[in-house]
Symmetry: D2
Subunit: 334 residues, 4 copies
């Protein structure tokens, strides 16, 4: 039976969103569903601004970063009026299934719409931060790790040449996934993540101890500290000041910034995006609704939307353990 | 208690082997173990050719493809005399634990040595083919997928420009992991893998049907067939001949070849290699022996060596399902 | 005064062709010219198959490999009837200026058309082979060097791991530019280029001498020979056989193939393509015709079309000199 | 006749410095010269801290960013005592030729030493800024362009997704080479370089005009401004403030930072570094001294050291012209 499906991308863009849109287009075409794309996230839904998505749109799409549907913040959706308008528009457009690719803010919006609209709602996790419970990884996360890692590899060249200390801020919102993985894969010397951050005082003591221990052992060497955003009071400049108080100068800060959000997706993101897109379309028309599709232990799963933000997602223990050992951290709670 | 640990890399080299050696070095140093590296795979063990591995060896090691310990085939180890000599050399060198990074051939050798030597034997899966049971992924596999995918992305530029058919052979030994993942992530139009290969006749019929269907629908378009090595009779030239019999010419073959084995490892390989190396060293001195360390569902595990080759490792079902849908395959057993 | 300009891409595609089209579109839009794109090379001209090219076509175009106008061989243009038809179609479509992006075959076609048609004809050099006289570089050449170099970097990882000999065939048609630059930038041990190839016998003697000298000095080491296509009798398999006659086995051949034609263009190709496209449009409406635009000593130049294939373009002498020194070649004419 | 040659890297590190060291090592070995490497720039010379450089040091060196000889600032060399000490140390170490890879500060130091020491002094231009007169390009410049361009490509994904304005600061010291080339090759919408900067007021007017013109034409679109470092008063935050005064908010700043200095060199840098290194060694023992070797119009040249900083090096005119056209700048002095 033919269905009308609508899809939108919301929140921060992430590499692989386009790969997910592509898989959805092809899967819909095979199932004889009509697929519409709302533009600019929920704004498109509120403005009834949508485009048809056909096979013509899929050419060379899997490789592209960003999102061809665009994304945007949407204040209006935070009001009850906004939610009702969205629900109303879905009815008017005779949508059977709404698919939302985004992060937890996007899913909260979707869940609210689900209270006012009887159609089927499916979320797909798309964010470089990986801070969504119910799925091992989120679309964009793998690419962001590789981007951050490659950037740190490059900074290390200069750090080694000058035997200098570099502080590198990576994204992650309020989670340490990206920072921990970037640090571990780039052989950084220290990492600061929110999950293990007790206080600036305790942390600075450890960092200083490590730097001094390394320099006592080997003489001047490079030292790279990866710092998750939103953790250190006053960010990298705060940390730089603290280090200077401990007579450690010649410190260089690098904020990787928005570079981490873009780029052609790496294979793991294309695979995740493709399988989740295909899986989501396979659920169209079923009773399953108000859920996010995800991947756990290499298998597609469904999770009630509200659990994606209510449950806390822990860091990978093996990564934590490995980082602890390799960071040469002998004293701390790590 | 101090231990003497020896490590070697055997079989085809894979990106991330060096990252694994690096993690082992640091973990040994922290545990106060001595770490030796046998060179040229089992040949080094048979020739008692080893080097000390200290922190000095770890500088900029995580990024390097290949293996600083070198690898090689070793016929001598296939005889009982070779095995006894290896066991004897381990005793003479007072090794407590032997760590072998490699594929199933390497693990078979290790298991044989385990029958003649009382020390501890730990395997770490390193091969781009991912054809080892008991671990979700093997070191090098992720990088090889990205390398193959990027190469196919490039070939597609020409395929699109000329609206031509390209046949691309990727590695994988007797398994379709690399081919399936490379095809799925590069939006290839068709993939031939050993797991689903019935006969050249049936396969050629499907390929020709697909090509004709696409051309009927869209006019001349590019069409990319990814073919796993060792599947098609007489390889790409055999397939090209078959296509010509069906009046499909203007076909171009590309064999990706050894490029797929090298390169700086991507983040996922560095993470896997680092966690497995660290985990292996954490087992040194325990009763656990004759096992491979692996990662299943994001957790480190141990598997008896013989199970790594006795059990068959299936393709990821979600990938198979997604490829089936996206390949536009309506008729077949896929 | 408004002009009607037509553009087409012909011959082998090359990274940067799209960047050149993009620059042409923007420059035309600023000059108030109409720009049409003939599709599939000269076939589009013969079939009067063209599309308008406006600013809408420029989005994210600079990064794309291949050519959005497609390319193709065109037998019909080799006949006088074909040429007359092309000239006729240009008149019918009221084209003032025809721009051809391609290699020497494409320029020969353009020159023939110029005998039958009074409009303005401008060539832009686009080929990875760099075998066009009158310009220091051709669009696509820089990217192909980097692609070949990166591939050789990867092969070296395995070559080093196994201390093996690898033979790597790179493209270049009948010129050694790509092979020489790829070899020099990847620290290859030997390179075979048509410009210095005397005979297989002499060449094999040098290669064998080099390999034996290196092995005498250092023991088993990797050895990488870069071979330009179309030089060695029977290609890499011919060379492999010759080496076996000299007791050198364990040789692995790698043919880089079509991967070298694709990919997102590197900066130097985007810059060259952009400046040549902009420069070509600046000539529209002038008396200059039947020329190729090129870049010599960092300045845009114009060259009569026939000189682009009549004159021979020598290899960069500094590169030859450096390769000679670094190849450790003591005996030869190099 | 055998010679003793010393080499050092000074100033900011640049990709390709190692490729240059590698070529120098091999060329020295072939000429039977002894080559020493002073570590940490001029500090090593002042401390007589050097290492022998032999073929063993060349393995996998061409690919590495940074400098294996390390670099550092050196205040002591700015005093006359420092210069005399350096000269004295060169005599004591019986150096015939000193090779300095670096930028203009490094060359000034070398020229001062040349007044106190009778040996031969050769400079090789190594800096990502390309701000050295007498050579078309400097080692590291090409890689930095590609790094900046790739980063801007990534930022554009997000800029497009959100239709936002991004300000991207790139390095270049007091020259606009890197900014202009990065902007032109990444299809940035506007670039601010010191060579054309009149005042913040005039520049802001142009930028605002451009943004408003684009938005009037196309509705909300992304807009990317590349800004050379050290040009805009108070940098990107100053520019952001100015834009807000003109009612343009939703502006995101990205400072690419030290990432631009590192990374494996692209082919053009490896080629330049290799040919200059080989050429410098070919001059050892000749009368030519107190010069920099460079490349002009694809040929190696020598330039008196003092001319490298006295003469001003202009931007490439074809690039300026192309950027002017593509930037859609109708009113200004550009």
């Amino acid at each position: 039976m033919s269905k009308r499906v609508a899809i939108l991308t919301s929140g921060g863009d992430a590499p692989g969103m386009n790969a997910c849109i592509r898989a959805s287009i092809i899967a819909c075409q095979k199932a004889n569903y009509t697929l519409l794309g709302y533009k600019h996230g929920y704004n498109g839904l509120l403005q009834q601004e949508y485009i048809p998505l056909s096979l013509d749109s899929t050419h060379n799409l899997i490789q592209q970063g960003g999102t061809i549907l665009h994304s945007a913040r949407c204040k209006e959706l935070k009001s009850h009026e906004g939610i009702k308008k969205a629900a109303n528009n879905l009815m008017k457009a005779e949508i059977d299934t709404l698919i939302v690719i985004g992060g937890d803010g996007s899913f909260r919006g979707a869940a609210e719409i689900g209270k006012e609209w009887k159609g089927q709602i499916l979320g797909i996790p798309g964010t470089i931060d990986n801070d969504i419970s119910g799925t091992d990884a989120t679309i964009g996360y793998f690419t962001a790790i590789d981007t951050a890692m490659s950037s740190i590899d490059k900074v290390r060249d200069t750090a080694d040449a000058f035997e200098r200390i570099f502080l590198i801020e990576v994204m992650g919102r309020n989670a340490g996934f990206l920072a921990l993985n970037a640090a571990l894969s780039s052989a950084a010397d220290y990492v600061v993540v929110p999950e293990f951050f007790e206080s600036a005082d305790k942390e600075i003591e450890k960092i200083v101890t490590q730097i001094k221990a390394q320099r006592a052992l080997k003489g001047p060497v490079s030292f790279i500290v990866v710092v998750a955003e939103n953790v250190w009071p006053k960010g990298l400049s705060g940390l730089t000041e603290e280090l200077m108080k401990h007579d450690i100068s010649d410190v260089r800060p690098v904020t990787l910034g928005h570079v981490q959000r873009g780029g052609s997706p790496v294979a793991q993101d294309r695979l995740l995006a493709t399988t989740l897109g295909e899986f989501a379309i396979s659920l169209v028309g079923s009773d399953i609704t108000n859920i996010m599709v995800g991947e756990v232990n290499q298998r597609p799963v469904t999770v009630p939307l509200h659990k994606t933000w209510e449950n806390t997602k822990p860091l990978n223990e093996a990564h934590v353990e490995a980082m602890r050992t390799l960071m040469n951290e002998r004293y701390s709670s790590w």
